[in-house]
C-alpha cells in the first residue's frame, strides 16, 4: 500500500509503471486519474484544501478496506492539495489483482470513498468568482453500493 498526500505534481505514468512492475502474480492493473477540468467560464485555478493528519488516516482506511474486501496485489493512492491549474493531474488510484473484474471493482470502490470520505475540498476560481465545489447527492448515494 502506497499512499501519498502532497502538494507537488507527480508523474501518473511513471507511478503506473512502478506499480505495474512491482506485480508478478497479478495480471490486471486498473488506474484512475483525476484531472482538473476546464470550465466554460474559464477556470483560472483550483484550490484544494485538506485536513492534514485526518486525510492520511482516511485514505489508509479506505485503502485497507479495499485490501480486506478483495484479493489485491497492491493499492496505490496519490492525492494533491494546494493550487492547481486546468489539465493538472489532481490524483490517481491504482489496483492490482489476478482478475480484471476485481481490479475494476476495487478501483471503483476506492474512488467512491475517496470522493466523499476523504477530507478534501475544492474551490474553483473563474475570473472574479470563487466557488467551493458542492458535493453531489449521487456521490453520497454511490457509497450504498458497497454496503
Amino acid at each position: 500500500m502506497k499512499i501519498l498526500v502532497q502538494e507537488a505534481a507527480f508523474d501518473a505514468g511513471a507511478e503506473l509503471n512502478d506499480f505495474t512492475k512491482a506485480q508478478s502474480s497479478m495480471g490486471a492493473v486498473v488506474s484512475f486519474t483525476g484531472i482538473v477540468r476546464d470550465l466554460d467560464a474559464g477556470l483560472k485555478q483550483m484550490d484544494i484544501e485538506h485536513y492534514p493528519g485526518m486525510t492520511e488516516r482516511a485514505l489508509e482506511k479506505i485503502a485497507s478496506d479495499a485490501m480486506g474486501r478483495w484479493n489485491l496485489g497492491d493499492v496505490l493512492v496519490i492525492h494533491r492539495f494546494g493550487a492547481l491549474k486546468p489539465e493538472d493531474v489532481i490524483m490517481m488510484v491504482a489496483t492490482a489483482s489476478k482478475h480484471r473484474k476485481v481490479a475494476f471493482e476495487a478501483a471503483d470502490f476506492l474512488m467512491d470513498f475517496l470522493k466523499s470520505r476523504a477530507p478534501f475540498w475544492k474551490k474553483e476560481q473563474t475570473g472574479a468568482a470563487q466557488d467551493w465545489v458542492s458535493s453531489k447527492q449521487e456521490d453520497e448515494n454511490a457509497l450504498t453500493r458497497w454496503e
Binding site: 485536513y51 488516516r57 489532481i90 466523499s116 476523504a118 477530507p119 478534501f120 475540498w121 475544492k122
Partner: protein, 81 residues
C-alpha cells in the same frame, strides 16, 4: 480542545483553528455554545445538514460525546477525487 474549520466554514468563521475551553458534553452542545457566541458562528452553523464533523480525526455525528476528545473539526461535505 482544538477546534478546526475547513473550506467555507473556515471562511465564514474567519479562522482555521482555535483553542476552546468548554464543558460541552456532545458535539451538538459545543455547536450551541458557538452559535451563541457571535453572528459569524451562528451563520456558519445555521444549517447542520450542510456540515460534517470529525472527532479526533474520525468522521462522526453531532450527538457524539466529547469526553476525552482533543480535536474536533467542522467542514462541508467532502469533495475529493
Amino acid at each position: 480542545m482544538n477546534v478546526l474549520y475547513f473550506a467555507w466554514v473556515r471562511e465564514r468563521i474567519g479562522l482555521p483553528k482555535e483553542q476552546i475551553e468548554t464543558s460541552a458534553a456532545t458535539v451538538m452542545d459545543l455547536v450551541e455554545e458557538l452559535r451563541a457566541r457571535e453572528e459569524r458562528y451562528a451563520l456558519a452553523f445555521s444549517d447542520l445538514s450542510a456540515l460534517r464533523v470529525a472527532v479526533d480525526q474520525d468522521l462522526s455525528d453531532f450527538d457524539a460525546s466529547l469526553e476525552g476528545v482533543r480535536e474536533i473539526a467542522f467542514f462541508p461535505p467532502m469533495t475529493g477525487g
